[in-house]
Subunit: 341 residues, 2 copies
DNA sequence: GGGCTTTCTGAAAGCGCTTTCAGTATAGCA
DNA sequence: TGCTATACTGAAAGCGCTTTCAGAAAGCCC
């Protein structure tokens, strides 16, 4: 059994005492905020070394009113989507010398008695928000306080001028669906929506409708279901279509996870992909090209979105100005799941 | 363009003033640490409301010397492994009313000039360490200070009594390899190791060797390569084997990602899995059962490991005792990639 | 040599909170 | 009635740091 034996940490005054200087001087050599005589620097460094001193972050924050850290709020880490996003965000943060703190939690956000967000406005200088969980009112509360905020893949509540970074969902989906229609003659294309209220999904659906409309294909409501950007739910949704005998010549999975689920359901029901039913996704996660068949999808610059969001946030924190909205282009990636050779 | 207009936040004294009480009283109603008259509570609550007051975390930490938060240090979030792990950790933390802060970064850890870890010992009460990046010396520094620490999937540096949570890697791998040998008659089984220095991989390799030895199969060094628990690297490693004309009747991928890469390489080279070459992984990530062919693997209780680690850490933080080492059982999961129908 | 920067240093005032400590007022009890 | 618990409240002392502010020492100019 292991127990914890608390152990006093050295403070700045311990260091000052040992080095025979004042705490101001120690602070100066630690932060390099003012010239200090070489000899003094040596002494202080030595004292720091021997005491194994590290500044206490909370004290620093309190006195200096900044943390050097940005926070990321996200629903739940899973799925291939997050790796590139985090890479991008981290790159953006690092570039400016900021740390990244992630708060991944679905449940927590609401149920805190005191109603305060975990890392919001506390341990971080600014917040990257990528979750539908944070309500509009929470967001506007933070906004009204002047807390630096950047939204990832969602637009701000009406009237609030909060920067946001999103993909060109509509046009990307439209191009994809049109490919299905034109190149493969699909007419009955199933649409799997994302989670309720998801904005990306909203725009993708608009793109889907536009594509149909542009080619004179009537919208069939029975061809819409919810896949929730989740493999299992998507699989279930497609299985339900199949059970109901709904005819399909293609399925748009909503995203790549949804497409994966769709393929599972189709194959399980004995339909061949793409010979019997074409399938396409959105995002182009790393796995997409490795699937059997390789997935036709829309490439979204996930990593770049993260990067941009982070650097916009940091600009904001540092008192600069930021574009109110960034729309990143997407690109059609044709592989085999749509029927192309 | 959006600029940030900083905005004074209300402090505890603002609230006290508005409510006509002292700050001690405000603190008491916020924290419920002592009885306060009903009427006073009302006034304070009202003042908090109108001022939209939230306590300043850093100040709180500084004064109260605890953060109510545990930190998780990990190399880079990607791969299917993390979702269940994080779910588990979060569950463990939530249960005890702690927040979870994640610091995901490969690069950062070393290169910080001041040598201090980001969230270590600062914004958190304790640390869950899941990365090979944190050197032994860093770990023992933290340990010597009495900073609560729990290691995930790695054992502590020699002599340090730090709790750790690991899987039963050796026995699990041995069972898996023996299945390949006994049920499928495999004799030439490729072994893809994890990243350099990875402990899980070390034990798995021992299990692999034991299995071979137990069945009188000589160890062939050319059958060992590094897949680094990474799909691409594993694919490259297997491709190299194939190019060199090395004979194989099975490949153990090191983990499920490695197995995925192995399958890619094999299929790309025209070998059928499992007819020509059997493939197996380790972890049983969600995706494993959905692959073609479904992956034979060893199920590791990833989520439970996270849970346990978190609650052990919290026990430690709260001054309790903790087991020094937890070894979680693994289970063989037979699907089709090994050749079983 | 006097006045002027320039370089370096320490004292001290907070940052916003928690937590004794020392009450005052009221209730309970003999 | 007097004495002691009990409920409630405020003053004040930090927590460990950053940051003026002011001063001492040293170098520069005329």
């Amino acid at each position: 059994m292991i127990a914890q034996r608390p152990n006093k940490r050295a403070t700045i005054s311990d260091v000052a005492k040992l080095a025979g200087v004042s705490i101001s001087t120690v602070s100066r050599v630690v932060n390099e905020t003012a010239p200090v005589a070489d000899e003094t620097v040596q002494q202080v460094r030595h004292a720091i070394e021997t005491l194994d001193y590290t500044p206490h972050a909370a004290a620093r924050t309190l006195a200096g009113r900044r943390t050097g850290t940005i926070g990321l709020l996200l629903p739940e880490i899973s799925g291939a989507f997050y790796a590139p996003m985090l890479r991008g965000i981290e790159a953006g943060a690092l570039e400016a010398g900021f740390d990244l703190l992630i708060h991944a939690s679905s449940a927590v956000l609401q149920e805190r008695g005191n109603g305060s967000l975990p890392l919001a406005e506390h341990n971080v200088d600014g917040l990257l928000v990528f979750t539908d969980r944070l309500t509009d009112s929470e967001i506007s509360r933070l906004y009204r306080r002047g807390f630096p905020l950047v939204l990832l893949h969602r637009t701000p509540p009406a009237g609030l001028d909060i920067p946001c970074v999103t993909f060109e969902n509509k046009a990307g989906t439209r191009r994809l669906i049109e490919h299905l229609i034109i190149a493969h003659g699909c007419r009955r294309i199933g649409f799997l929506a994302g989670p309720d209220g998801n904005e990306d999904s909203y725009w993708r659906e608009l793109g889907y409708r536009e594509a149909l409309a542009a080619h004179g294909i009537p919208l069939d409501p029975s061809l819409r279901s919810v896949g929730a950007f989740d493999e299992e739910q998507a699989e279930a949704a497609v299985a339900a279509w199949l059970r109901q005998g709904i005819e399909l010549d293609a399925v748009f999975g909503g995203d790549d996870e949804g497409a994966t689920g769709a393929i599972q359901a189709l194959q399980r029901a004995g339909r061949r992909v793409p010979q019997d039913v074409a399938v396409a996704g959105f995002d182009d996660v790393p796995f997409a090209r490795l699937m059997t068949p390789p997935l036709t999808t829309v490439r979204a610059p996930i990593e770049m979105a993260g990067q941009q969001a982070a650097s916009q946030l940091i600009t904001l924190i540092q008192g600069g100005e930021s574009d109110s909205s960034t729309l990143l282009p997407t690109e059609l990636v044709i592989r085999r799941s749509c029927g192309c050779a």
